[in-house]
């Protein structure tokens, strides 16, 4: 193997480069040049340079422009000279990255973006509502069987996970409260606590969070993929409204499924509490369910179910909003899917807080 010092020869005020200049040999030679840059050099001889790639040309330009300014490159072979002519970086103006906007510009841009997003969500919501109602009476432009298919995807496929998590949730809440209530001989009130919390709060909210993560992400990914692959444009060109064709079936399906899933969640959450009551608190089957039924009112159930419908709408609207906003390729799809899930869960929790304030 040729030593670095043999590739770069300083003699008689001349620098001679020997062998190949490639992206592999250049880093070592650059170090060697830096160590010898005080040596007098009046010409750079390339007669023994057999090959240079793009990195080598850039290295030679660096030598003759920055280290030994004004020193010419002499005796280059035809092939090397050709490379020097093609890939010279001498008169090259390197583009600098664009400047980031200043603080006030960023604040202004954000404000404008927020305003635009609010308007977009408003228009999207109104169009979804319009087509959901209007579409019931006019079948043209509707995707046949889409609502049923979506009910299957959003509802049937989610029963297992919603049910399992609700039982676990019921068990946890009951266990945590049972230990405290038993000290005061008030173990029976675990049934009240579980019933009220599952029907009014935990049932609708937990189901909405599961559906936001499961179906909301799928909606956002599907719509954004359709956007970046121009499928939505294709629908428009076929005189089909993408909102009606793609979003409305999901909207109708989730409106039907969500209350049903919440019902399942409530029932299984109460069953979870019942297991704790039966095993840990030694309550009887009859006393637990009598206490549960005595504390619940129809109003509680209606509040829980009405909340679930609003949560469902929020999930679809946010997923669609982000889906339609997607740009670029796979990267864009990933970004909007993540944003959609985060925004949906946040919106569900905030909306739940608002409902709690209203129906205190």
């Amino acid at each position: 193997m040729v030593k670095k010092s043999d590739r770069l020869v300083f003699e008689n005020n001349e620098l001679r480069i020997v062998g190949d200049l490639t992206h592999q040999t250049v880093p070592g030679l650059k170090k060697l040049v830096r160590r010898n840059k005080k040596k007098p050099v009046q010409s750079i001889d390339l007669k023994d340079l057999t090959y240079t790639d793009g990195s080598g040309v850039v290295f030679l330009d660096w030598l003759s422009c920055e280290i030994f300014p004004g020193i010419p490159l002499n005796n280059a072979a035809d092939k090397v000279q050709k490379a020097l002519d093609h890939f010279s970086s001498r008169d090259l103006k390197i583009q600098l990255p664009p400047k980031h906007p200043g603080f006030f510009e960023s604040v202004g841009n954000t404000a404008l973006m927020v305003k635009k997003n609010i308007l977009d969500i408003f228009y999207l919501t109104s169009e979804i509502m319009l087509w959901s109602l209007y579409g019931i009476f006019i079948s043209k432009g509707r995707r046949k069987g889409a609502v049923a298919q979506q009910i299957f995807l959003i509802g049937s496929n989610a029963v297992g996970i919603v049910g399992l998590l609700s039982i676990v949730l019921g068990l946890i809440i009951a266990l945590q409260s049972a230990a405290q209530l038993r000290q005061y001989g008030a173990g029976i009130y675990v049934a009240d606590l579980i019933a009220i919390s599952m029907v009014r709060e935990m049932g609708p909210m937990m189901t909405a969070i599961i559906i936001a993560g499961r179906s909301g992400s799928a909606f956002a990914a599907e719509i954004s993929t359709m956007k970046v692959t121009e499928e939505l444009d294709a629908l428009k060109m076929m005189a089909l409204n993408p909102i009606r064709y793609v979003v409305v079936p999901k909207f109708l399906a989730i409106t039907i499924c969500m209350p049903l899933l919440v019902m399942i969640s409530i029932i299984l959450g109460i069953v979870g509490g019942f297991i704790v009551g039966l095993t840990y608190l030694d309550l009887t089957y009859v006393s637990y369910f009598n206490e549960t039924l005595s504390i619940l009112e129809v109003k509680d159930l209606l509040i829980g179910l009405s909340k679930s419908v609003f949560f469902a709408w929020v999930i679809v609207i946010i997923a669609s909003f982000y889906g339609f906003k997607a740009e670029g390729g796979a990267e864009g799809v990933g970004k909007v899917t993540t944003s959609s899930v985060v925004a949906s869960i946040f919106a569900v929790i905030v909306l739940n807080a608002l409902f709690s304030l209203i129906y205190m």
Binding site: G54, S55, D61, S89, L92, Q95, G328, A330
Partner: protein, 246 residues
């Protein structure tokens, strides 16, 4: 005649029950542009991906630079890959990175060059493909032709010995397509690079090809100089050059 740079022997590729490449034998000669052509679904891209190692053949061997390429250990395989560049059909630029960052990836990952030399090298290649102004744009902000030119700059940033191009002209207007062909020809002349192109654009084939490999239903119908293909006596090949389409 020069010794083959790429030697493909008895390659068979199957997807499930379907045989996509059937007993392919081919020698690619250095410093030439070889165009692989044939009708859609005949196995052109599969052949290219098999040569580059992206698809594993069921049987057969591929030797590149005189060494076995398939079935070799990962380090040796990666070392060989650094001596090759690939221009994918849609560019395959990483969407989250700017054009400049995309082109710099191979240099940053596979060389120990200082950042200033990498910067200059990238700037030279960008200028060379006519994208100096687009350095800080994202791939999603580029047109189809610009994406391909950026991808070409990335493919040649390490000055590879072999360049593979998958349908470089697909989806481009004739002017952009011709300018891309010019770039490919210049690369070949400037670097004595061996270039393998998959294409079915007749105009492009005429501009760049030294040799053609004509595939039909996974088999090679003709492999030889472009000039002789018109009168090779194989009806499908002759028809292609007569009509310019399948």
């Amino acid at each position: 005649m020069s010794e083959a740079l790429i030697k493909i022997k008895d390659i068979v590729v199957r997807f499930g029950e379907k045989t996509v490449l059937d007993d392919i034998n081919l020698d690619i000669i250095p410093n030439e542009i070889t165009v692989i052509l044939g009708e859609s679904g005949c196995g052109k891209t599969t052949l290219l991906k098999t040569i580059t190692g992206l698809i594993k053949p069921e049987s057969g061997s591929i030797h590149i630079f005189g060494e076995p390429f398939n079935g070799t250990d990962e380090n040796r395989h990666n070392r060989m890959l650094r001596r090759m560049g690939v221009l994918f059909q849609n560019g395959a630029l990483l969407n989250s990175m700017t054009v400049r960052d995309n082109i710099a990836i191979p240099l940053e990952q596979h060389s120990r060059l200082d950042p200033d030399l990498i910067e200059k090298n990238v700037a030279v290649k960008l200028k060379w493909v006519g994208l100096s102004e687009a350095a800080w744009l994202l791939p999603s902000e580029l047109s189809g032709g610009m994406r391909k030119r950026a991808a070409l700059a990335r493919a040649i940033i390490l000055d590879p010995e072999i360049l593979f191009c998958d349908e470089p002209s697909a989806g481009l207007d004739p002017v952009t397509s011709a300018s891309l062909d010019e770039l490919i020809l210049t690369i070949k002349e400037q670097f004595n690079m061996t270039i393998i192109v998959v294409s079915h654009e007749l105009a492009s084939i005429h501009r760049i090809a030294d040799k053609i490999v004509f595939l039909d239903k996974g088999k090679i119908l003709y492999a030889g100089p472009l000039k002789e293909a018109r009168s090779c006596g194989i009806e499908t090949v002759e028809n292609f050059f007569k009509t310019g389409s399948f």
